[in-house]
């Protein structure tokens, strides 16, 4: 981190950036009211900090050897004067603000009619953002892969339904880009680009999505520790995109015998992550538990633990869903969840 003097000129700043580039590293520049701060992206051992410190206009050059730094509270404070959590705005929705945000919708978009009917339901229930999977990551090539798998035309058609439903019900929309080749297309239609848990480690995908200038929701991989989760979020931030929403969705179960939940929802990760970074944290209780009858409890628990919102799978007839029916709730059940969560969040707010 290079802290420039308050009177450093633009030329001096450029000079430092060039020195960083000369060492084949990248610079992350924040111009504050009083002074500029330049973060180094890449392997800092390639640069000579003693030399940097002697450059004109440089006040201080500090090496930070951690796997993530741009997304830390310290860096946010220093570079942007960010005291609290970052608020990410999508349309009229504020993620990370005073209200818990509910992202809801079907696991997979199955038809225009199915999508619109669910969108209507979740809107009435009080949801803020509409979700709907078009490119579905599946453990088996022999499972339904989402409408996006059939053809480019059908993918676009489904994406278009999503955008249309979002407009009609005044809900920003989110959908997943599973592979690099889907990023451009998804970025055209979605308000938030989702990166699924299975792809959390895909740094090329993160880099590509980081460059689209749209908010990104990054799910934690089920085998990833918190340090890894934040380190991979840093790949997106390194492209200049700070609009990153982190989403906890359960980690691999341990122990032998029958599983009572699909994954282990790690709710302590919420406050633990919030101590580290200014990025908002959401929770997906649907994939974590895989059980419709646990959604209410775990939604309340997630909000009580400090989550900024939830991502919940909803279907008017869960039994009929092509994917994940056993973990979906109905719009009416969603309404109860939202109502309880909003009241819990009000309770814990002043004490946060």
């Amino acid at each position: 981190m290079i802290i420039m003097k308050t009177d450093a000129t633009q030329e001096e700043i450029e000079n430092v950036i060039n020195e960083i580039k000369r060492c084949r590293l990248r610079a992350d520049v924040s111009k504050g009211e009083f002074r500029s701060v330049i973060g180094i992206i890449g392997d800092e051992s390639q640069i000579d900090f003693a030399h940097l410190a002697t450059l004109p206009g440089v006040k201080e050059a500090i090496g930070i050897e951690t796997p993530y730094k741009i997304i830390t509270r310290e860096y946010g404070k220093f570079s942007e004067g960010l005291e609290e959590q970052r608020i990410i705005r999508v349309g009229n929705v504020e993620i990370g603000g005073n209200q818990p945000i509910f992202i809801a919708g079907p696991c997979a978009v199955e038809s225009r009619e199915q999508l619109f009917r669910i969108a209507d339901g979740v809107k009435r229930a009080g949801a803020h953002i509409l979700r709907g999977g078009i490119f579905k990551p599946r453990s088996s090539v022999h499972s339904f892969q989402g409408l996006g798998a059939w053809s480019q035309e059908e993918a676009e058609e489904a994406l278009d339904w999503l955008r249309e439903a979002g407009k009609k019900f005044e809900l920003p929309v989110i959908t997943e880009a599973r592979g690099e080749t889907q990023v451009d297309l998804v970025a055209q239609y979605a308000d938030i680009i989702q990166i699924g848990a299975r792809n959390m480690y895909d740094q090329d995908l993160l880099t590509k999505v980081g460059r689209k200038g749209k908010p990104v929701l990054l799910k934690r991989h089920f085998g990833a520790g918190i340090e890894e989760f934040l380190s991979f979020a840093e790949y997106i931030a390194a492209e200049g995109n700070r609009d990153i929403i982190l989403c906890e969705r359960g980690i691999v179960p341990v122990g032998k015998g029958k599983s009572y939940t699909r994954y282990t929802l790690d709710l302590a990760a919420i406050p633990a992550i919030q101590k580290e970074t200014y990025l908002p944290v959401l929770v997906d209780p649907s994939h974590a538990t895989g059980r419709r009858d646990l959604i209410f409890s775990m939604s309340c628990a997630a909000i009580a633990a400090g989550a900024c919102g939830l991502m919940i799978e909803v279907h008017y007839d869960p039994a009929e869903a092509l994917v994940d029916g056993q973990q979906m709730i109905t719009p009416d059940e969603l309404k109860d969840v939202i109502h309880a969560c909003q009241r819990i969040q009000k309770l814990i707010m002043p004490e946060k």
Copy 2:
């Protein structure tokens, strides 16, 4: 499970019990208002159900091949007409009732003064039960093992302080019996006998403690799945003791790199366990997180998830504690936790 006819005589019941004993199995007898139900404890493959069904007074003989059965909701309903969760009464305290119960106190009892000062603090903060470890399970023989380790006299002295503090501040007391040889002694002084996570698999200890006729708090082992947890609770129930409080305290973390929490608190286990059994579930956020700054959040989350109460380590000066200082909170902080939790529980109650 042997369901007797409504007009079965005592003699007929005895006859069935004798048949069960003849096969070297044990019988768990529940006499309802209308009829008696006899549960079989042990390996049912040793008995001939067809033959049982022909005995006089027997209405039905049903084999149940699950690792636990006495503690299931079904068995509770059938044998005792228990519709809801079981309420366990300890003095004036009701565990599993309408109020969340807070067990608080030092990790380890260090001195009479320390204990009384903390007992005073937790009472004022609103706690219901006083905890204090005298026989401490420790990962290293080179760590402080609790006052109980010095000598029988000192163990009794410390246990006596605990009982005395409980009386003075009107708080039932709980402490751990770590090994079989400590059970009788602990049962003399404590209102609830605690079995620690490390000893969950110790079936001889569970059997012994099950025979003492006192409520038992059983912690889930950090490597145990829910099925195993319930199967070991069944060892206590098999001795005729249904006053079992289950306690989730975190499971082994997965993933490499730095740990942000000591264990992974598995809050989805709360509702998942409650669907299976009538036994109340508590949560210990102190050992689970190992972090003082996460106690508030995880306490709120646990109650929101449906826990019947919490077990929290408290010290007037955490930095001074001989064991686990980094995870203890002060009595003032406990007060905030209790206040928030009580309000959250009121919110979710009607919807449970």
Copy 3:
């Protein structure tokens, strides 16, 4: 699986394939000496097996609802008459044959000189295939990402060195394609395309790589069970590519406290996988243990467990390596490993 009659005509086969395509599924056709077998790729619930069975030329139509099927021993036996493990030929090297195969080389290619010096060393030590990472998957954006990260030109230059070194020392070469956009390039230069553990779940990458017609080495993700590992290998096989080498490289460690090894090497996975599939299994002890002093032992153990070969990181001066120095061995140490492994394999062979 559609088993055709021995006298089924080409037209009848085409007719079945068209019926499968009509249901938006794909067909995998194997023409045996006596009869043809058609496998269905995709969600079989979309097709009517009763109807398929009535089509002319069809002997039997059997639904198989498992997450993987093309790579199973049963399917191999039925469709190709494959009795044993599949042998994958790369140049003169046979993977899955009578000899254990050793893939060795630097973790990351750092320079032409470094690569050639190591290639020379591993050739002399008895290795069969040369490895060298050019696109390095890294947990932190702030770590060295491999020469491929600088620019397209430098990526090609490094790939060219690899190909050149392979020719000079008569070693087929393997390198990783980390993202979809690298597949075409890597396929031009490498004899085997490696998919790293972090990308095992990247089904778009697997699909793309499956279409290149080159052998693929797929590493098991550190959070994946065996069923998932095989299910994702099936994505490659579904593109008509059976030349898949599976590689066990350790799963996430469990338990708290200091880690003595980087991951947990799951050697029982070798025979367990071999019972399921005809694909050869390799082991990477370098990434699994992260410890140079355990490579010899774990290499011997892997071969004794039935692995078809090993992938080992080698450097003439491990301390100097830019990546993973603590887990690299020298060419001389590799020689000892190869010698011991070859003798162990001879011992266990007849009993396999």
Copy 4:
């Protein structure tokens, strides 16, 4: 660790021991040829090392803050001049010596006839020690708990069969003490006392067993890291008993979906543990895999990884066994395992 001067008198040594006891710690005294070394057992922060260093006869007083120390290679070297692995002698059998040792027998002793027939089988197959469970740890109270569960008389009768079979077939015998109350009894009959994986954390049991003066085989708990495993072995060593055999038997599986093995056998733990301690390490492939068809491979792998021997469940008719039939092998299969393992061990020996 207190290193005495070479000319320290017995009185000076006593003096140091008394000082240690005064601080309520225990002393572990090793008298070497040239000088005595005194290890401190317990919480060293309770003692003043500066003061200890000033006592007459003391050469050096060094604090060691690790969870285990008596069992480390360093301590062995210093206190006993132990350069290599410790050899534990049981009758004519040397565990940790030049030959791999095979412990074999039924999971549970079911009858005198069954035991003798299997003992005969394993002796002919080349096994060195006879195993047979009499007190069986079981996950469910509704499973067969071993003959020891019926009554004290039957427990003694079964233990007597074991001793008798050992004598007849010239095989030292090992059986498990599951709870504290069984230790005295088991110690009367068995040559080696086994502590099962579920009881690894039971420090009271370890302490009690450590005092019996008989070799102890300690199994690693399935949720325990290596550091914990060694820390609990230290509880036995702290009682003056260095005849501890460590046994790896698999850790909890991670990942969702179908399990292909019961636990994950952590073979890298063998060399990792051997770098830390002089205690011999055995492997139990039967419980680890739970699969008869993997025993041969995993036995070979364990020996190749450096294990000093194996513990294998054997039955003349696995299908008939009351417990664990699916993981037992026949005496003939054992013979093949022993033969292969002995040859592998010869191969790797000089290179160890």
